[in-house]
């Protein structure tokens, strides 16, 4: 890995089709922007057309080499996820990289998605689980394609609360966020196992941005001074994602984060998640309930389904 890797070190992305969810703000915005400058065709998947247009206009004003397209996606609504996948598949016959970036954090009160899931689990995990499943055919059809999912250091204190995944009995904002970000990693590693099982060229990788000043912290006003002191810029925060999405030395199952001060800031390097994020049994179980909850079945355990 090059020392002090930066966005300019990305290989040329001309001809690539890349979806970035939550591309209108923070890390997603910087990811879309950097990829467009490298020549990629970036599909900005956002829930607000207005905010997406404003973001696209700002990037276009910099005259990037690549193109930006907008497609509506509300991860808090499975019908919208399906509509997005349908619309995408109508317009594109390949998908080089899917960046599962959008996220929300630490809502003071329990809120739910359209389908009744606790919103952090619903948006951060289930929405992306469904999206990936619905787009899997395009990914499998594209050589060397990737799924990059943005997790967080918060996975460390997360556990999967199988008895009450949607926090109906008790809600704690940090537990709920931690669960959703641990789910991102379990999902990535399980996806990688399933892709390997069918010898697919597609790989699944994860990234985390350290501590980055974005809109994510909107519900935590009291942290502002702390953030000013410690947080890095969204340009820096996007680097691990960009590395995972584009660099040739990336392998399936890799996880990238910043390299200095407790992985809170710096340039991308390979990092290790906490051991419980690699637990295959938990990952399989989470996959199965996610299938049942979303109704999206994509890569089944090859060994237990066959066509004769």
């Amino acid at each position: 890995m090059a020392v002090k890797w930066r966005a300019a070190d990305m290989p040329d992305q001309a001809g690539k089709i890349i979806i970035v969810t939550g591309a209108n703000s923070g890390i997603g915005y910087e990811t879309a922007r950097a990829l467009a400058h490298k020549g990629a065709h970036v599909v900005m998947a956002c829930r607000s057309r207005g905010r997406a247009e404003a973001a696209a206009a700002r990037i276009r004003a910099e005259n990037p080499r690549g193109e930006l397209a907008l497609l509506d996606l509300d991860l808090a609504d499975l019908a919208s996820v399906r509509a997005f996948a349908d619309a995408f598949q109508q317009q594109y016959d390949r998908l080089d990289v899917l960046v599962n970036n959008a996220g929300i954090m630490a809502l003071p009160q329990r809120m739910t998605t359209k389908d009744g899931f606790e919103i952090q689990f619903g948006v951060n995990h289930l929405g992306h689980f469904a999206l990936t499943g619905l787009l899997i055919e395009r990914l499998l059809a594209t050589p060397k394609s990737r799924v990059v999912t943005v997790s967080s250091k918060a996975h460390r204190f997360g556990t999967i609360n199988f008895d009450d995944l949607n926090w109906e009995r008790s809600y704690s904002l940090w537990k709920a966020y931690g669960q959703s970000k641990l789910a991102n990693l379990l999902f990535t590693f399980e996806l990688q196992r399933r892709l390997e099982a069918r010898d697919a060229e597609t790989i699944a990788v994860a990234a985390h941005p350290g501590y980055t000043a974005t809109n994510l912290q909107r519900y935590m006003r009291s942290f502002t001074w702390f953030q000013k002191l410690l947080a890095q810029s969204p340009e820096m925060g996007a680097l691990p994602t960009l590395y995972a999405a584009t660099m040739p030395d990336v392998r399936g199952g890799d996880y990238f984060g910043p390299d200095s001060f407790m992985e809170m800031r710096g340039h991308p390097k390979r990092v290790r998640a906490k051991p419980h994020a690699y637990d295959a049994e938990t990952a399989r179980r989470l996959w199965k309930v996610s299938e049942a909850l979303t109704g999206v079945f994509s890569l089944d355990d090859e060994s237990r389904t066959t066509e004769v």
Binding site: R285, K288, V289, E291, A292, G295, F297, D300, S303, R304, T305, T306, E307, V308
Partner: protein
């Protein structure tokens, strides 16, 4: 609990049987053509009952499909102790106007697949000295059926075959049960393009009721069972009536209203 293989588990009676078996804590091998449906059922049953569900997507109207199903089960190293031949369909209409291809497929699924799957799996059951075969026949097995001539004949075959096999295996520890439902609320009627007929207007049982009844009879080793008193009456009448009357009664049940 033993592992059960169920054909036609993607809807109706087969799906209900799969649920009942999972509730008993048994692992399952589900066979049918509609993969999505089978995957959804697998996703429902595995976490709910802590069982393993295997899926074989197969078209039993194809030559060689039973062999492939059997080979797959062997490859997975599964020990199937319960075989449920449930997949089947009907086709409504006057025989001389019906699509020959469709009729051939019907005989393939209802008759051939049932026979050959049984042939592949039974030796293993006999060797271990226990196991069950449940064949889904129909009240149609007891009489000829104008407007569904071929379907009724396929079910007569299934009943005859099951009873004979049950007798052959009487000392082996393996039981063979023919479940003979009457009108049941499933996708059957629509798939058979039946429209309105008296046989269904008189009320249909739920797939769940039929499945529970058949499953219990199978475990008890009963040979021929008919769920519902009306259906039992219906299968009893042919023993009392002249053959020429039976066919008229049966026609009245199936002719378009």
């Amino acid at each position: 609990m033993a592992t059960a293989l169920i054909t036609g588990a993607s809807s109706g009676i087969g799906m209900a049987l799969a649920r009942v078996h999972a509730e008993h804590g048994g692992d399952l091998v589900l066979v049918a053509r509609r993969r999505e449906r089978l995957e959804a059922l697998k996703a429902e049953l595995e976490p709910a009952h802590d069982v393993r569900v295997f899926v074989i997507v197969a078209d039993l109207a194809q030559d060689g499909a039973p062999r492939k199903v059997y080979d797959t089960v062997r490859e997975w190293g599964l020990d199937v102790e319960i075989l449920i031949n449930n997949a089947g369909f009907g086709l409504h209409g006057l025989f001389h106007t019906q699509d020959p291809e469709k009729l051939a497929q019907m005989v393939h699924v209802n008759v051939l697949a049932t026979t050959i799957l049984t042939r592949f799996f039974v030796p293993h059951l006999v060797a271990r000295g226990r196991g069950h075969v449940l064949n889904v026949a129909s009240v149609a097995a007891f009489m000829p059926g104008p407007w569904q001539a071929v379907y009724y004949a396929t079910k007569a075959y299934v009943l005859s075959f099951s009873e004979a096999l049950a007798d052959e295996l009487r000392t082996s520890g393996v039981t063979v049960t023919a479940l003979c439902p009457g009108a049941t609320e499933t996708e059957f009627k629509e798939r058979a393009q039946m429209g309105r007929v008296r046989g269904f207007e008189m009320g249909a049982m739920s797939a769940r009721e039929v499945a529970e009844y058949g499953y219990r009879a199978m475990l008890a080793g009963k040979r021929v069972v008919v769920p519902g008193w009306r259906n039992r009456l219906l299968t009893f009448l042919p023993r009392l009536l002249p053959r020429s009357w039976t066919v008229v009664m049966s026609r009245m049940g199936m002719e378009p209203l």
